[in-house]
Amino acid sequence: MTTKEALYNFCLRLGDNNLILGQRLAEWCSNGPILEEDLAMTNMSLDNFGQAEYLYEYAAELEGKGNSADDLAFLRDEREYFNNLLVEQPNGDFAVTMMKEMLYSSFAVSLCEALSQSKDERLSGLAVRMTKEVKYHYRHSSEWLIRLGNGTDESRTRAQTALNELWMFTADLFTMNQTDKVLVKAGISVDMNDLLPVWRRSVEEVLKAAKFKVPQNCHMITGGIDGQHTEYLGHILCEMQYLQQAHPGAKW
């Protein structure tokens, strides 16, 4: 695998995380528990799609086959998306969505901060831009979890249940494959194991303040970065790709 191919895969991975997470957040449009929160989640979704677009644009250039960012976003098959499993999980209730958001964005913060030092100028530039936004997502979701944890019995229970259900997808965030090997060697990306303690620290801070317990002896499910997804991804893609697939070649 060449460095260029590895970078292409990596951009797809980051782009896919943003695309799928953005899509899940957009499901909350007109469904939020408070109107203000509808706006907040739409706002985060907008950030995600913006980031996805930048990453796909770069990936398309690296690929050099004349594809557009939209082609990459809308025309791949289930096994060709490299997002982590966490982002494709269903929204569930508001507690699940906020827990998912906190677990993912704390990872994204540590990753983006690390990538700001990347030897690839384009990638480091993107990472610097993204850091501000993911920090806001982390702030927003962690503050909500603190409210839910210190709110009512019901909110506490729902949020703890959310943590219990989502924890099994967290190891997947730190998996690596040949793409990472090549990029770490080239000084373009980082060893995910280095990010793990940073992530753990920020997650534990939130969970402590919100009084949640981390599930013990959890069997972890992985595979996202190799295109091995949960059954949910297929449905997400089906809906998202509908118009492009139904009208091949049409310009919108």
Partner: protein, 318 residues
């Protein structure tokens, strides 16, 4: 100084006639306060209900750009709803009460949202025609007599123009597209044109609230005036991209320089207002379901708000 009710009313009318802005703590006739609560809260409800048909298509938007723009538009609409709820609350009603009124049917929302968004072209038609009609109405309302409502309208108008351009751009793209896209665009036009005209309300002769509303300058221009303004703008926009206006009686009047239209089906309008449109029940049950599902979240936030954990302290390092 002790004034009689009559004197107070006269002083109030004098302020209105001088185009003074009435602020929340100023003396106002009870009817004025109630009329404003009704109009402002219904305007707010309309923005919120309007998020439903568009939310329906945001997941299927055909490009990243279209998706981002639609998300930003929906966000704006929620934001507009919030400005308006905020303005209504200055009149002594709270959001819970307004939502209860919406759910019970006591408060209405714009009829237009009782129509379904069936295809992607509908999103174009909604942006271009529905937001276009709303803009004509809202520009006029910038001069409404109640301060908070007027200021909310000024804010909203500044943000609204991109909404209409978003919709029109979708129609332009489709009319420049393949044969299926052109058909889709014309089909959406056929279904949204007449309901958009009905957004301005019944003809002035049939409008019961209008007289008082105009006297107190809540409303600044008549339904028919605003409707004609919209028609004149929009017919040209339609023809420019090759869309046919679904009105066989449409004629350009060389004397008045206006477009004359065929008869509007007011029977349909009243049926939909009564609750018998295609989406009335769906829009309401959606709103009720979501509101109830969110109850535990609001309670949790409330409990946190009054708890000892609600401090200035930063519990996590951001």
């Amino acid at each position: 100084m002790n004034m009689t009710e009559e004197q107070k009313l006269a002083a109030f009318q004098a302020r209105i006639d001088a185009d003074d802005k009435i602020e929340p703590k100023d003396w106002m006739p009870e009817e004025y306060r109630l009329a404003l609560i009704r109009q402002v809260s219904q305007h707010a409800h309309s923005e919120v209900i309007g998020m439903q048909p568009e939310g329906n298509w945001v997941l299927r938007a055909p490009t990243l750009r279209a998706k981002k723009i639609l998300l930003a538009k929906i966000q704006d609409e929620g934001g507009h709803g919030l400005y308006l709820y905020s303005a209504a609350e200055t009149l002594g009603i709270d959001r819970d009460e307004m939502i209860e009124q919406l759910h019970s049917g006591k408060a209405k929302y714009s009829n237009i949202f009782n129509y379904p968004a069936l295809t992607w072209a509908d999103i174009g038609a909604i942006g271009w025609l529905v937001d276009g009609a709303a803009i004509v109405n809202q520009v006029s309302l910038q001069r409404t007599s109640f301060g908070p409502y007027s200021r909310a309208m000024v804010r909203i108008c500044k943000e609204e123009s991109f909404h209409q351009r978003q919709g029109y751009e979708i129609m332009v793209n489709m009319m420049n597209g393949n044969i299926d896209q052109k058909k889709m665009a014309q089909d959406a036009m056929n279904r949204w044109w007449w309901p958009a005209l009905m957004m301005f309300g019944p003809p002035d002769t049939d409008s019961p609230h209008t007289k008082l509303s105009m006297k107190w300058r809540i409303k600044r221009e008549s339904n028919d005036t605003l409707r004609q303004r919209f028609i004149d703008k929009t017919v040209d926009q339609a023809h420019f991209i090759g869309l046919t206006v679904p009105d066989k009686d449409l004629k350009h009047n060389t004397k008045t320089e206006h477009w004359d239209i065929g008869p509007i089906n007011w029977a349909e309008f009243y049926e939909v207002i009564k609750g018998n449109g295609p989406c009335n029940r769906q829009r309401m049950s959606h709103h009720i379901k979501v509101h109830n599902a969110g109850d535990w979240v609001r309670r949790a936030a409330m409990a946190f708000s009054v708890s000892e954990f609600n401090t200035k302290e930063e519990l996590v390092t951001h």
